[in-house]
Amino acid sequence: MADSVATSITPGTRSRMIQRALVIAYVAVLVLVPLVVVTWKTFEDGMSAFWTALSSDQSVTAIKLTAEVSVAAVILNTIFGVGMAILLTRYRFPGRRLLGALADLPISVSPIVVGLALLLVYGPNYFFGKQLAGVGISLMFNVPAMIMATAFVSLPLILREIVPVLDEEGIDQEQAARVLGANVWQRFRRIILPTIRPALMYGIVLGLARSIGEFGAVAVVSGNFSGANATQTMPLAIAERFNQGVGGYYPLAFLLIVVTVLAIVLTSIRRKKKVDAQ
Protein backbone atom coordinates (compact mmCIF):
# COMPACT_ATOMS: atom_id res chain seq x y z
CA MET A 1 0.00 0.00 0.00
CA ALA A 2 1.82 3.11 -1.23
CA ASP A 3 1.99 5.69 1.48
CA SER A 4 0.86 8.56 -0.66
CA VAL A 5 -2.23 6.68 -1.76
CA ALA A 6 -2.89 5.53 1.76
CA THR A 7 -2.83 9.01 3.15
CA SER A 8 -5.15 10.27 0.47
CA ILE A 9 -7.86 7.78 1.26
CA THR A 10 -7.58 8.08 4.99
CA PRO A 11 -9.01 11.17 6.63
CA GLY A 12 -6.74 13.96 7.75
CA THR A 13 -4.93 13.90 11.09
CA ARG A 14 -7.41 16.16 12.83
CA SER A 15 -10.47 14.16 11.92
CA ARG A 16 -8.56 11.01 12.80
CA MET A 17 -7.88 12.40 16.26
CA ILE A 18 -11.50 13.34 16.65
CA GLN A 19 -12.58 9.84 15.64
CA ARG A 20 -10.17 8.27 18.08
CA ALA A 21 -11.29 10.58 20.86
CA LEU A 22 -14.95 9.80 20.19
CA VAL A 23 -14.35 6.09 20.25
CA ILE A 24 -12.20 6.18 23.36
CA ALA A 25 -14.68 8.40 25.18
CA TYR A 26 -17.64 6.21 24.19
CA VAL A 27 -16.00 2.98 25.28
CA ALA A 28 -14.62 4.59 28.42
CA VAL A 29 -17.95 5.92 29.59
CA LEU A 30 -19.76 2.71 28.82
CA VAL A 31 -17.30 0.09 29.94
CA LEU A 32 -13.98 1.25 31.38
CA VAL A 33 -15.22 3.68 34.00
CA PRO A 34 -17.77 1.21 35.43
CA LEU A 35 -15.15 -1.53 35.61
CA VAL A 36 -12.72 0.73 37.43
CA VAL A 37 -15.36 1.90 39.88
CA VAL A 38 -16.48 -1.64 40.65
CA THR A 39 -12.91 -2.79 41.23
CA TRP A 40 -12.43 0.10 43.60
CA LYS A 41 -15.68 -0.62 45.45
CA THR A 42 -14.82 -4.30 45.70
CA PHE A 43 -11.59 -3.66 47.53
CA GLU A 44 -12.77 -0.59 49.40
CA ASP A 45 -12.90 -2.54 52.65
CA GLY A 46 -9.62 -4.27 52.11
CA MET A 47 -8.48 -7.69 50.98
CA SER A 48 -9.60 -9.58 54.06
CA ALA A 49 -13.17 -8.34 53.69
CA PHE A 50 -12.95 -9.46 50.07
CA TRP A 51 -11.92 -12.99 50.98
CA THR A 52 -14.40 -13.23 53.82
CA ALA A 53 -17.24 -12.38 51.48
CA LEU A 54 -16.07 -14.92 48.93
CA SER A 55 -15.60 -17.71 51.46
CA SER A 56 -18.95 -17.34 53.18
CA ASP A 57 -21.20 -20.38 52.95
CA GLN A 58 -23.58 -18.69 50.60
CA SER A 59 -20.77 -17.63 48.26
CA VAL A 60 -19.04 -20.98 48.21
CA THR A 61 -22.25 -22.85 47.50
CA ALA A 62 -23.16 -20.37 44.82
CA ILE A 63 -19.77 -20.68 43.15
CA LYS A 64 -19.91 -24.46 43.19
CA LEU A 65 -23.43 -24.53 41.86
CA THR A 66 -22.66 -22.03 39.11
CA ALA A 67 -19.75 -24.17 37.97
CA GLU A 68 -21.86 -27.31 38.05
CA VAL A 69 -24.74 -25.83 36.09
CA SER A 70 -22.52 -24.10 33.52
CA VAL A 71 -20.35 -27.12 32.82
CA ALA A 72 -23.40 -29.32 32.40
CA ALA A 73 -25.01 -26.83 30.06
CA VAL A 74 -21.85 -26.48 28.00
CA ILE A 75 -21.46 -30.25 27.71
CA LEU A 76 -24.99 -30.53 26.42
CA ASN A 77 -24.51 -27.66 24.00
CA THR A 78 -21.22 -29.03 22.73
CA ILE A 79 -22.74 -32.39 21.89
CA PHE A 80 -25.68 -30.73 20.25
CA GLY A 81 -23.59 -28.03 18.57
CA VAL A 82 -21.08 -30.36 16.97
CA GLY A 83 -23.73 -32.82 15.86
CA MET A 84 -25.99 -30.15 14.46
CA ALA A 85 -23.10 -28.37 12.71
CA ILE A 86 -22.12 -31.57 10.91
CA LEU A 87 -25.69 -32.22 9.92
CA LEU A 88 -26.18 -28.70 8.62
CA THR A 89 -22.96 -28.49 6.62
CA ARG A 90 -22.38 -32.02 5.37
CA TYR A 91 -25.83 -33.28 4.62
CA ARG A 92 -28.76 -32.43 2.49
CA PHE A 93 -32.32 -32.87 3.72
CA PRO A 94 -35.62 -31.09 3.51
CA GLY A 95 -36.01 -28.42 6.16
CA ARG A 96 -32.28 -27.98 6.57
CA ARG A 97 -32.47 -24.22 6.36
CA LEU A 98 -35.43 -24.06 8.72
CA LEU A 99 -33.62 -26.20 11.27
CA GLY A 100 -30.60 -23.92 11.11
CA ALA A 101 -32.76 -20.87 11.71
CA LEU A 102 -34.57 -22.55 14.61
CA ALA A 103 -31.31 -23.55 16.25
CA ASP A 104 -30.27 -19.93 16.09
CA LEU A 105 -33.47 -18.74 17.73
CA PRO A 106 -32.41 -18.64 21.40
CA ILE A 107 -30.04 -15.75 20.84
CA SER A 108 -32.90 -13.35 20.35
CA VAL A 109 -35.23 -14.62 23.09
CA SER A 110 -35.49 -12.64 26.32
CA PRO A 111 -34.22 -14.61 29.34
CA ILE A 112 -37.49 -14.04 31.17
CA VAL A 113 -39.32 -15.60 28.26
CA VAL A 114 -36.91 -18.56 28.39
CA GLY A 115 -37.67 -19.18 32.04
CA LEU A 116 -41.39 -18.79 31.53
CA ALA A 117 -41.30 -21.12 28.52
CA LEU A 118 -39.58 -23.91 30.43
CA LEU A 119 -41.88 -23.43 33.39
CA LEU A 120 -44.96 -23.76 31.21
CA VAL A 121 -43.83 -27.17 29.98
CA TYR A 122 -41.88 -28.68 32.84
CA GLY A 123 -43.50 -26.99 35.82
CA PRO A 124 -45.42 -29.22 38.22
CA ASN A 125 -48.78 -28.00 36.98
CA TYR A 126 -48.06 -28.44 33.31
CA PHE A 127 -47.94 -31.25 30.82
CA PHE A 128 -44.47 -32.80 31.00
CA GLY A 129 -43.98 -31.68 34.55
CA LYS A 130 -47.03 -33.59 35.67
CA GLN A 131 -45.96 -36.77 33.86
CA LEU A 132 -42.50 -36.59 35.33
CA ALA A 133 -43.81 -35.84 38.79
CA GLY A 134 -45.76 -39.07 38.50
CA VAL A 135 -42.47 -40.97 38.36
CA GLY A 136 -40.95 -38.87 41.09
CA ILE A 137 -38.76 -36.64 38.98
CA SER A 138 -39.03 -32.97 39.79
CA LEU A 139 -37.27 -30.73 37.31
CA MET A 140 -38.68 -27.34 38.06
CA PHE A 141 -37.14 -25.21 40.82
CA ASN A 142 -34.26 -27.64 40.91
CA VAL A 143 -30.88 -27.93 39.32
CA PRO A 144 -32.06 -29.71 36.13
CA ALA A 145 -34.34 -26.80 35.27
CA MET A 146 -31.46 -24.41 35.83
CA ILE A 147 -29.26 -26.49 33.53
CA MET A 148 -31.95 -26.48 30.88
CA ALA A 149 -32.45 -22.72 31.15
CA THR A 150 -28.70 -22.14 30.90
CA ALA A 151 -28.36 -24.54 27.98
CA PHE A 152 -31.22 -22.80 26.20
CA VAL A 153 -29.70 -19.34 26.28
CA SER A 154 -26.25 -20.45 25.16
CA LEU A 155 -27.38 -23.10 22.68
CA PRO A 156 -26.39 -21.34 19.46
CA LEU A 157 -23.01 -20.08 20.62
CA ILE A 158 -20.97 -23.20 19.97
CA LEU A 159 -22.95 -24.00 16.84
CA ARG A 160 -22.29 -20.55 15.37
CA GLU A 161 -18.58 -20.97 15.81
CA ILE A 162 -18.29 -24.34 14.19
CA VAL A 163 -20.58 -23.93 11.19
CA PRO A 164 -18.52 -21.34 9.31
CA VAL A 165 -15.41 -23.43 9.77
CA LEU A 166 -17.05 -26.60 8.49
CA ASP A 167 -18.54 -24.66 5.61
CA GLU A 168 -15.13 -23.60 4.40
CA GLU A 169 -12.81 -26.42 5.26
CA GLY A 170 -12.44 -30.11 5.27
CA ILE A 171 -14.91 -31.07 2.58
CA ASP A 172 -12.30 -32.24 0.10
CA GLN A 173 -10.41 -34.19 2.72
CA GLU A 174 -13.56 -35.94 3.86
CA GLN A 175 -14.51 -36.86 0.34
CA ALA A 176 -11.05 -38.23 -0.25
CA ALA A 177 -11.21 -40.17 2.98
CA ARG A 178 -14.60 -41.57 2.07
CA VAL A 179 -13.32 -42.69 -1.29
CA LEU A 180 -10.45 -44.39 0.47
CA GLY A 181 -12.86 -46.30 2.69
CA ALA A 182 -12.94 -44.47 5.99
CA ASN A 183 -16.22 -44.75 7.87
CA VAL A 184 -18.18 -41.93 9.48
CA TRP A 185 -16.60 -42.30 12.87
CA GLN A 186 -13.07 -42.31 11.47
CA ARG A 187 -13.82 -39.27 9.33
CA PHE A 188 -15.16 -37.52 12.41
CA ARG A 189 -12.19 -38.29 14.59
CA ARG A 190 -9.48 -37.70 12.04
CA ILE A 191 -10.75 -34.85 9.91
CA ILE A 192 -13.71 -33.02 11.34
CA LEU A 193 -12.55 -32.85 14.93
CA PRO A 194 -9.12 -31.38 14.18
CA THR A 195 -10.69 -28.94 11.76
CA ILE A 196 -13.14 -27.58 14.27
CA ARG A 197 -10.98 -27.85 17.36
CA PRO A 198 -9.91 -24.17 17.54
CA ALA A 199 -13.40 -22.89 16.82
CA LEU A 200 -14.81 -25.43 19.23
CA MET A 201 -12.49 -24.27 22.00
CA TYR A 202 -13.47 -20.70 21.34
CA GLY A 203 -17.15 -21.60 21.37
CA ILE A 204 -16.81 -23.54 24.61
CA VAL A 205 -15.08 -20.66 26.36
CA LEU A 206 -17.72 -18.24 25.15
CA GLY A 207 -20.47 -20.67 26.09
CA LEU A 208 -19.04 -21.06 29.57
CA ALA A 209 -18.76 -17.31 30.05
CA ARG A 210 -22.36 -16.87 28.93
CA SER A 211 -23.57 -19.74 31.10
CA ILE A 212 -22.00 -18.64 34.35
CA GLY A 213 -23.59 -15.24 33.91
CA GLU A 214 -27.13 -16.25 33.09
CA PHE A 215 -29.55 -14.48 35.42
CA GLY A 216 -33.08 -13.84 34.18
CA ALA A 217 -33.91 -17.32 32.96
CA VAL A 218 -32.47 -19.01 36.02
CA ALA A 219 -34.25 -16.53 38.31
CA VAL A 220 -37.58 -17.68 36.94
CA VAL A 221 -37.03 -21.44 37.14
CA SER A 222 -35.02 -21.70 40.33
CA GLY A 223 -36.39 -21.94 43.83
CA ASN A 224 -33.58 -19.63 44.90
CA PHE A 225 -32.56 -21.76 47.86
CA SER A 226 -29.31 -20.95 49.59
CA GLY A 227 -27.74 -23.31 52.09
CA ALA A 228 -27.88 -27.06 51.82
CA ASN A 229 -29.31 -28.35 48.52
CA ALA A 230 -28.89 -24.90 47.11
CA THR A 231 -30.39 -23.69 43.87
CA GLN A 232 -28.80 -20.29 44.00
CA THR A 233 -26.14 -19.49 41.42
CA MET A 234 -23.71 -16.59 41.73
CA PRO A 235 -25.89 -14.15 39.81
CA LEU A 236 -28.86 -15.07 42.00
CA ALA A 237 -26.75 -14.70 45.13
CA ILE A 238 -25.67 -11.26 43.98
CA ALA A 239 -29.28 -10.26 43.40
CA GLU A 240 -30.38 -11.56 46.79
CA ARG A 241 -27.59 -9.80 48.64
CA PHE A 242 -28.39 -6.60 46.80
CA ASN A 243 -32.08 -6.87 47.64
CA GLN A 244 -31.47 -7.76 51.25
CA GLY A 245 -29.30 -4.69 51.59
CA VAL A 246 -26.37 -6.62 52.97
CA GLY A 247 -23.10 -5.84 51.26
CA GLY A 248 -20.79 -8.51 50.03
CA TYR A 249 -22.13 -8.73 46.50
CA TYR A 250 -19.27 -6.77 44.99
CA PRO A 251 -16.73 -9.56 45.59
CA LEU A 252 -18.95 -12.09 43.84
CA ALA A 253 -19.58 -9.64 41.02
CA PHE A 254 -15.87 -8.96 40.77
CA LEU A 255 -15.11 -12.67 40.55
CA LEU A 256 -17.54 -13.00 37.67
CA ILE A 257 -16.02 -9.98 35.96
CA VAL A 258 -12.53 -11.46 36.26
CA VAL A 259 -13.62 -14.77 34.78
CA THR A 260 -15.45 -13.01 31.97
CA VAL A 261 -12.51 -10.77 31.14
CA LEU A 262 -10.16 -13.75 31.18
CA ALA A 263 -12.42 -15.59 28.76
CA ILE A 264 -12.55 -12.57 26.47
CA VAL A 265 -8.79 -12.07 26.55
CA LEU A 266 -8.14 -15.74 25.79
CA THR A 267 -10.48 -15.77 22.84
CA SER A 268 -9.30 -12.44 21.51
CA ILE A 269 -5.75 -13.74 21.36
CA ARG A 270 -6.98 -16.52 19.13
CA ARG A 271 -8.98 -14.12 17.02
CA LYS A 272 -5.98 -11.87 16.50
CA LYS A 273 -3.91 -14.86 15.36
CA LYS A 274 -6.58 -15.75 12.83
CA VAL A 275 -6.95 -12.22 11.48
CA ASP A 276 -3.19 -11.78 11.21
CA ALA A 277 -2.94 -15.04 9.33
CA GLN A 278 -5.48 -13.96 6.72
Partner: protein
Protein backbone atom coordinates in the same frame (compact mmCIF):
# COMPACT_ATOMS: atom_id res chain seq x y z
CA UNK B 1 -19.10 -13.95 -5.32
CA UNK B 2 -20.83 -14.13 -1.98
CA UNK B 3 -20.60 -10.93 0.05
CA UNK B 4 -17.56 -10.76 2.22
CA UNK B 5 -19.49 -11.01 5.42
CA UNK B 6 -20.01 -14.68 4.69
CA UNK B 7 -16.31 -15.34 5.00
CA UNK B 8 -15.48 -17.67 7.83
CA UNK B 9 -14.32 -15.42 10.60
CA UNK B 10 -13.15 -17.44 13.52
CA UNK B 11 -13.99 -15.82 16.77
CA UNK B 12 -16.81 -13.53 15.77
CA UNK B 13 -19.82 -14.85 17.65
CA UNK B 14 -21.89 -11.88 16.71
CA UNK B 15 -21.25 -11.87 12.98
CA UNK B 16 -24.72 -12.62 11.82
CA UNK B 17 -24.05 -14.93 8.91
CA UNK B 18 -26.93 -17.34 8.46
CA UNK B 19 -26.16 -20.82 9.68
CA UNK B 20 -27.02 -22.46 6.37
CA UNK B 21 -25.61 -21.47 3.02
CA UNK B 22 -27.43 -21.86 -0.21
CA UNK B 23 -24.32 -23.40 -1.73
CA UNK B 24 -24.82 -26.46 0.36
CA UNK B 25 -28.00 -27.37 -1.43
CA UNK B 26 -25.90 -28.65 -4.27
CA UNK B 27 -23.24 -30.36 -2.15
CA UNK B 28 -23.84 -32.53 0.87
CA UNK B 29 -24.68 -36.18 1.24
CA UNK B 30 -28.06 -37.66 1.66
CA UNK B 31 -28.80 -38.92 5.13
CA UNK B 32 -27.83 -42.45 6.05
CA UNK B 33 -29.45 -44.41 8.84
CA UNK B 34 -26.80 -43.27 11.29
CA UNK B 35 -26.96 -39.62 10.45
CA UNK B 36 -30.70 -39.84 10.11
CA UNK B 37 -30.91 -41.03 13.67
CA UNK B 38 -28.54 -38.26 14.70
CA UNK B 39 -30.79 -35.75 13.00
CA UNK B 40 -33.77 -37.22 14.76
CA UNK B 41 -32.12 -36.93 18.14
CA UNK B 42 -31.01 -33.38 17.43
CA UNK B 43 -34.51 -32.39 16.41
CA UNK B 44 -36.00 -34.04 19.48
CA UNK B 45 -33.54 -32.28 21.75
CA UNK B 46 -34.15 -28.93 20.07
CA UNK B 47 -37.88 -29.48 20.37
CA UNK B 48 -37.81 -30.49 24.01
CA UNK B 49 -35.55 -27.66 25.05
CA UNK B 50 -36.52 -24.79 22.77
CA UNK B 51 -39.40 -25.30 20.39
CA UNK B 52 -42.04 -26.86 22.60
CA UNK B 53 -41.45 -24.43 25.47
CA UNK B 54 -41.64 -21.44 23.15
CA UNK B 55 -44.79 -22.85 21.59
CA UNK B 56 -46.19 -23.29 25.10
CA UNK B 57 -45.63 -19.59 25.74
CA UNK B 58 -47.66 -18.66 22.69
CA UNK B 59 -50.33 -21.20 23.60
CA UNK B 60 -50.55 -19.85 27.13
CA UNK B 61 -50.71 -16.30 25.88
CA UNK B 62 -53.78 -17.24 23.90
CA UNK B 63 -55.11 -19.32 26.79
CA UNK B 64 -58.07 -17.01 27.05
CA UNK B 65 -58.56 -16.89 23.33
CA UNK B 66 -57.93 -13.81 21.19
CA UNK B 67 -59.86 -11.62 23.61
CA UNK B 68 -57.79 -12.81 26.56
CA UNK B 69 -54.61 -12.14 24.64
CA UNK B 70 -55.79 -8.77 23.49
CA UNK B 71 -56.89 -7.70 26.97
CA UNK B 72 -53.57 -8.73 28.43
CA UNK B 73 -51.51 -6.69 26.00
CA UNK B 74 -53.72 -3.64 25.82
CA UNK B 75 -53.70 -2.96 29.54
CA UNK B 76 -52.14 0.45 30.11
CA UNK B 77 -49.16 -1.02 31.91
CA UNK B 78 -48.58 -3.55 29.14
CA UNK B 79 -48.76 -0.97 26.39
CA UNK B 80 -46.49 1.37 28.31
CA UNK B 81 -43.95 -1.37 28.91
CA UNK B 82 -44.02 -2.59 25.31
CA UNK B 83 -43.78 0.90 23.86
CA UNK B 84 -40.89 1.82 26.19
CA UNK B 85 -39.05 -1.35 25.23
CA UNK B 86 -39.56 -0.85 21.50
CA UNK B 87 -38.53 2.77 21.26
CA UNK B 88 -35.51 2.46 23.52
CA UNK B 89 -34.37 -0.64 21.60
CA UNK B 90 -34.78 1.17 18.27
CA UNK B 91 -32.87 4.16 19.58
CA UNK B 92 -30.13 1.93 20.89
CA UNK B 93 -29.92 0.03 17.60
CA UNK B 94 -29.59 3.31 15.71
CA UNK B 95 -26.89 4.64 18.03
CA UNK B 96 -25.07 1.34 17.72
CA UNK B 97 -25.26 1.47 13.95
CA UNK B 98 -23.40 4.76 13.97
CA UNK B 99 -21.01 4.29 16.88
CA UNK B 100 -20.39 0.64 16.11
CA UNK B 101 -19.34 1.47 12.60
CA UNK B 102 -17.14 4.28 13.82
CA UNK B 103 -15.49 2.03 16.37
CA UNK B 104 -14.95 -0.73 13.81
CA UNK B 105 -13.49 1.83 11.42
CA UNK B 106 -11.03 3.13 13.98
CA UNK B 107 -10.06 -0.36 15.09
CA UNK B 108 -9.43 -1.60 11.56
CA UNK B 109 -8.08 1.42 9.74
CA UNK B 110 -6.37 3.39 12.47
CA UNK B 111 -4.35 1.20 14.78
CA UNK B 112 -3.03 3.36 17.57
CA UNK B 113 -1.57 2.51 20.93
CA UNK B 114 -4.47 1.41 23.08
CA UNK B 115 -6.67 0.31 20.22
CA UNK B 116 -5.80 -3.26 21.15
CA UNK B 117 -7.14 -2.64 24.64
CA UNK B 118 -10.32 -1.20 23.24
CA UNK B 119 -10.67 -4.15 20.92
CA UNK B 120 -10.61 -6.52 23.87
CA UNK B 121 -12.79 -4.41 26.10
CA UNK B 122 -15.56 -4.24 23.50
CA UNK B 123 -16.54 -7.86 24.03
CA UNK B 124 -16.89 -7.62 27.78
CA UNK B 125 -20.49 -6.36 27.86
CA UNK B 126 -21.66 -9.30 25.80
CA UNK B 127 -20.21 -11.91 28.10
CA UNK B 128 -20.70 -10.10 31.41
CA UNK B 129 -23.47 -11.48 33.61
CA UNK B 130 -26.42 -9.14 33.28
CA UNK B 131 -27.00 -8.70 36.99
CA UNK B 132 -23.34 -7.78 37.42
CA UNK B 133 -23.71 -5.22 34.64
CA UNK B 134 -26.78 -3.90 36.44
CA UNK B 135 -24.95 -3.57 39.74
CA UNK B 136 -21.95 -2.03 38.02
CA UNK B 137 -23.94 0.58 36.10
CA UNK B 138 -25.94 1.47 39.21
CA UNK B 139 -22.83 2.02 41.28
CA UNK B 140 -21.37 4.39 38.72
CA UNK B 141 -24.41 6.12 37.30
CA UNK B 142 -26.86 5.84 40.21
CA UNK B 143 -27.64 7.97 43.20
CA UNK B 144 -24.21 7.83 44.81
CA UNK B 145 -22.42 8.30 41.52
CA UNK B 146 -18.72 9.02 41.90
CA UNK B 147 -18.88 10.92 38.62
CA UNK B 148 -21.98 12.89 39.62
CA UNK B 149 -24.18 11.44 36.89
CA UNK B 150 -27.46 10.07 38.21
CA UNK B 151 -29.47 8.00 35.76
CA UNK B 152 -31.50 6.12 38.35
CA UNK B 153 -35.17 5.88 37.45
CA UNK B 154 -34.77 7.60 34.10
CA UNK B 155 -35.55 6.33 30.63
CA UNK B 156 -32.12 7.65 29.62
CA UNK B 157 -30.72 5.22 32.15
CA UNK B 158 -32.58 2.33 30.54
CA UNK B 159 -31.27 3.27 27.11
CA UNK B 160 -27.78 3.65 28.54
CA UNK B 161 -27.89 0.19 30.07
CA UNK B 162 -29.06 -1.22 26.75
CA UNK B 163 -26.20 0.56 24.96
CA UNK B 164 -23.85 -1.16 27.37
CA UNK B 165 -24.95 -4.68 26.57
CA UNK B 166 -25.25 -4.14 22.83
CA UNK B 167 -21.85 -2.50 22.38
CA UNK B 168 -20.16 -5.36 20.53
CA UNK B 169 -22.90 -6.29 18.09
CA UNK B 170 -22.40 -3.83 15.25
CA UNK B 171 -18.66 -3.56 15.85
CA UNK B 172 -18.06 -7.29 15.51
CA UNK B 173 -20.39 -7.51 12.56
CA UNK B 174 -18.65 -4.74 10.63
CA UNK B 175 -15.04 -5.45 11.57
CA UNK B 176 -14.46 -8.56 9.41
CA UNK B 177 -16.12 -6.95 6.42
CA UNK B 178 -14.06 -3.83 6.78
CA UNK B 179 -10.88 -5.81 7.28
CA UNK B 180 -11.47 -7.85 4.15
CA UNK B 181 -12.28 -4.90 1.91
CA UNK B 182 -10.19 -4.53 -1.17
CA UNK B 183 -8.77 -1.03 -1.14
CA UNK B 184 -8.53 -0.74 -4.93
CA UNK B 185 -11.84 1.02 -5.46
CA UNK B 186 -11.09 3.49 -2.71
CA UNK B 187 -7.63 4.15 -4.06
CA UNK B 188 -9.04 4.63 -7.55
CA UNK B 189 -11.59 7.12 -6.28
CA UNK B 190 -8.88 8.98 -4.38
CA UNK B 191 -6.82 9.18 -7.53
CA UNK B 192 -9.82 10.65 -9.28
CA UNK B 193 -9.95 13.39 -6.63
CA UNK B 194 -12.68 12.23 -4.25
CA UNK B 195 -12.30 13.30 -0.63
CA UNK B 196 -12.33 10.77 2.21
CA UNK B 197 -15.90 11.54 3.19
CA UNK B 198 -17.19 10.99 -0.32
CA UNK B 199 -15.19 7.77 -0.61
CA UNK B 200 -16.70 6.54 2.60
CA UNK B 201 -20.23 7.47 1.69
CA UNK B 202 -20.21 6.15 -1.84
CA UNK B 203 -17.87 3.20 -1.82
CA UNK B 204 -17.30 1.87 1.66
CA UNK B 205 -20.68 2.42 3.26
CA UNK B 206 -22.74 0.47 0.70
CA UNK B 207 -20.45 -2.50 1.21
CA UNK B 208 -20.83 -2.24 4.97
CA UNK B 209 -24.58 -1.77 5.03
CA UNK B 210 -25.55 -5.47 5.24
CA UNK B 211 -23.16 -5.98 8.14
CA UNK B 212 -24.36 -2.82 9.87
CA UNK B 213 -27.95 -3.87 9.39
CA UNK B 214 -27.41 -7.35 10.73
CA UNK B 215 -25.46 -6.06 13.72
CA UNK B 216 -28.10 -3.45 14.45
CA UNK B 217 -30.84 -6.06 14.18
CA UNK B 218 -29.08 -8.30 16.69
CA UNK B 219 -28.59 -5.32 18.97
CA UNK B 220 -32.29 -4.52 18.67
CA UNK B 221 -33.27 -8.09 19.53
CA UNK B 222 -30.95 -8.18 22.52
CA UNK B 223 -32.12 -4.82 23.82
CA UNK B 224 -35.77 -5.86 23.48
CA UNK B 225 -35.29 -8.82 25.77
CA UNK B 226 -32.78 -7.40 28.24
CA UNK B 227 -33.65 -7.87 31.90
CA UNK B 228 -30.82 -7.98 34.43
CA UNK B 229 -28.95 -4.93 33.21
CA UNK B 230 -31.94 -2.59 33.14
CA UNK B 231 -33.50 -3.93 36.32
CA UNK B 232 -31.51 -1.94 38.85
CA UNK B 233 -31.00 1.32 36.98
CA UNK B 234 -34.74 1.41 36.41
CA UNK B 235 -35.24 2.13 40.09
CA UNK B 236 -38.56 0.34 40.28
CA UNK B 237 -40.55 3.07 38.62
CA UNK B 238 -43.44 2.38 36.29
CA UNK B 239 -42.04 4.60 33.58
CA UNK B 240 -38.83 2.57 33.43
CA UNK B 241 -40.50 -0.81 33.40
CA UNK B 242 -39.51 -2.62 30.26
CA UNK B 243 -41.47 -5.52 28.85
CA UNK B 244 -39.30 -8.24 30.36
CA UNK B 245 -39.66 -6.72 33.83
CA UNK B 246 -43.40 -6.38 33.37
CA UNK B 247 -43.70 -10.01 32.27
CA UNK B 248 -41.68 -11.17 35.28
CA UNK B 249 -43.89 -9.13 37.58
CA UNK B 250 -47.02 -10.71 36.13
CA UNK B 251 -45.46 -14.13 36.57
CA UNK B 252 -44.66 -13.42 40.23
CA UNK B 253 -48.30 -12.43 40.73
CA UNK B 254 -49.36 -15.74 39.14
CA UNK B 255 -50.79 -14.13 36.05
CA UNK B 256 -48.93 -16.50 33.73
CA UNK B 257 -51.39 -15.90 30.93
CA UNK B 258 -50.64 -12.17 31.00
CA UNK B 259 -46.92 -12.82 31.20
CA UNK B 260 -47.14 -15.25 28.28
CA UNK B 261 -49.10 -12.74 26.22
CA UNK B 262 -46.42 -10.08 26.66
CA UNK B 263 -43.74 -12.71 26.01
CA UNK B 264 -45.51 -13.68 22.79
CA UNK B 265 -45.38 -10.11 21.56
CA UNK B 266 -41.66 -9.97 22.32
CA UNK B 267 -41.11 -13.25 20.49
CA UNK B 268 -43.04 -12.10 17.43
CA UNK B 269 -41.09 -8.86 17.22
CA UNK B 270 -37.78 -10.70 17.52
CA UNK B 271 -38.84 -13.23 14.90
CA UNK B 272 -39.87 -10.52 12.46
CA UNK B 273 -36.54 -8.77 12.93
CA UNK B 274 -34.51 -11.95 12.49
CA UNK B 275 -36.47 -13.06 9.45
CA UNK B 276 -36.20 -9.71 7.68
CA UNK B 277 -32.51 -9.72 8.50
CA UNK B 278 -32.16 -13.10 6.87
CA UNK B 279 -34.04 -11.92 3.79
CA UNK B 280 -31.95 -8.78 3.47
CA UNK B 281 -28.75 -10.76 3.75
CA UNK B 282 -29.80 -13.27 1.12
CA UNK B 283 -30.77 -10.50 -1.24
CA UNK B 284 -27.47 -8.71 -0.66
CA UNK B 285 -25.53 -11.93 -1.07
CA UNK B 286 -27.18 -12.61 -4.40
CA UNK B 287 -26.52 -9.11 -5.63
CA UNK B 288 -22.87 -9.10 -4.49
Amino acid sequence: MTATFDVAEGGAPLAAAPLTRSSNDEGGERLSRGSGLGLGIAVIWLSLLVLIPLAAVVAKGFGGGWSGFWTAITRTQALDALWLTVWTSLLVAAVNAVMGTLIAWVLVRDKFRGSRLIDIVIDIPFALPTIVAGVVLLSVYGTNSPVAINLLGTQRGIAFAMLFVTLPFVVRSVQPVLAALDLESEQAAACLGAGPLVIFRRIVLPLLLPAIASGAALAFARAMGEYGTVLLIGGGLDRTKVASMYAFQLHQAFDDQGAAAVATVLLVISLVVILSLDLIQRRMARRG
